[in-house]
Amino acid sequence: MSHAFSVQNLSYRYPKAKRDTLREITFSVEEGEIFGFLGPSGVGKSTTQKVLIKLLEGYSGEIRYFGRNLQSMGKSYYEEVGVGFEMPIHFSRMTALENLKYFSGFYKNRINFQELMERVGLWEHKDVQVGNYSKGMKARLNFVRAMLNNPRVLFLDEPTAGIDPRNARTLKDIISEYRAQGGTVFLTTHLMSDVDELCDRVVFVVDGNLTDISTPRDLRIAYGKREVKVEYREDDALASAVFPLAGIGDNEEFHTLLRSKDIETIHSGETSMEDIFIKVTGAQLP
């Protein structure tokens, strides 16, 4: 497996800014993985994405895209990457179909977007002006727009924000299928349920620096308590007991409780991605 992106000591300072927004960050994104780039607003997530999609220049450090220096890549780069912005990015007085036909025409490699529009529930609204779309419909259209060139790497910024749970499920399924077919995803989001379901590896951005890269599972274990909590009924009241996870198989008290009581729930002490987000970044989720 090769690196889709290899980023070494990336720093970036906006013109007129007094300090760097990104401070010598180093990470790599493997081909065929969904890489979660997480953090609160204003810490450099969008800046990193803008550097990677070549909207921002003048950075220091080195970025390699499948081994090639990103700076040396011309407009052909956009034949290979798809970008799903968080905000609506379509011509509001044109219909969805007109928008997609227009953008699709620029690519050498094009998908049959009708199929994708049908899956995300937009085909029946294809002749509606985008300005009349709801927030969720615009977000789904953004996703289709990002997939138009069947990209090798897909950048997604809050792809399910504002989308109802059923359509969000569909979108996440499509993203997983894309990954299964070898596609690489660079995902920035606040929605930790998306991270939990989709990401192979994640990193948190904290004040322009990165934490260690890890998997959501490893993070849950590392930040969780190694214990098991059992809730049970006793004398018509709810009671609970906590046992250490280490040696649980030989814990006689635990096994006695399981045999003798009316058990309602058993939970290991894993913490949620939301709690990890707050612990690591020190920020509250919006």
């Binding site: 013109p15 803008k50 999609i53 909207l55 921002l56 220049e57 011309g74 407009k75 052909s76 780069y77 956009y78 034949e79 990457v81 970008v83 912005f85 905000m87 609506p88 990015i89 379509h90 011509f91 509001s92 007085r93 044109m94 007109e98 227009y102 953008f103 025409g105 620029f106 690519y107 050498k108 727009r145």
Partner: protein, 239 residues
């Protein structure tokens, strides 16, 4: 080349969707009415002024309006991640604005020809029109990129008109003495107007024409390279 044509087609479609094309046509119709009401002699004086207004002030406003409407829709960002260069995007915007100007100037030419039987060297006119329009499109972009909103850009256009266009108009109506005309040539407005005046009147002062052409070309290239291109990229990144 195909992508360039696609960009221009998209821009024209977008301008039409904002009804900017319809407004250009409506302006042309107003000019027809003006020519119906004035004499042949007056038409020779008014025609270059109207062409100049279309290729300068109106074009600057058109570029600004189009830019801010696009910024509202965030489509600039979307265009920047297409396999086209920033130069191609800017060129397509300038060409499509030029097309709208051509429409009104063509109406003006047709009006003075059919109403007053006045004709001129159309190839030369087209050349001068392109030069004046491209320079003023670059000026329009510059003001739009320095402005924070269409309102603030509008104020800058008014300031531009007072400083650069009014002296040219005052020269045309002899309020400012003709001996100061060379000083006025520093104004892109006057350089452009002198080109239109020469082609409509048929009186060619080649020194003045050469200076105007070189000055407008230099100004357009300098603005595009050092102001519009970098600021457009930076603005696009901000979304």
């Amino acid at each position: 080349m195909t992508n360039m044509l696609r960009l221009i087609g998209g821009e024209l479609k977008r301008l039409a969707s904002y009804k900017l094309l319809a407004r250009s046509l409506a302006t042309g119709i107003v000019w027809v009415l003006v020519f119906l009401l004035i004499s042949k002699e007056d038409a020779r004086d008014v025609a270059p002024m109207l062409m100049f207004v279309d290729a300068s002030i109106v074009l600057m406003l058109l570029v600004g309006a189009s830019f801010y409407l696009e910024q509202q829709e965030h489509t600039i960002k979307s265009m920047m991640v297409l396999p086209v260069s920033v130069g191609q995007i800017l060129l397509s915007k300038i060409i499509s604005s030029l097309v709208l100007t051509l429409v009104t100037v063509a109406i003006t030419c047709a009006s003075v020809y059919f109403i007053h039987e006045i004709s001129f060297k159309y190839v030369l006119l087209l050349l001068f029109l392109i030069l004046a329009a491209v320079t003023h499109a670059a000026l329009g972009f510059t003001l739009a990129l320095f402005g924070k909103s269409f309102g603030s850009m509008l104020i800058m256009v008014i300031v531009y008109v007072v400083i650069f266009t009014m002296p040219s108009v005052l020269l045309a109506v002899n309020v400012i003495d003709a001996q100061y005309e060379w000083m006025a040539m520093i104004s892109p407005s006057h350089a452009a107007r002198s080109l239109f005046t020469s082609v409509v009147s048929g009186e060619y002062e080649w020194e003045k024409i050469l200076f105007s052409c070189m000055y407008l070309s230099f100004l357009a290239m300098a603005l595009m390279k050092f102001v519009v291109y970098p600021r457009f990229k930076s603005r696009a990144a901000k979304g």
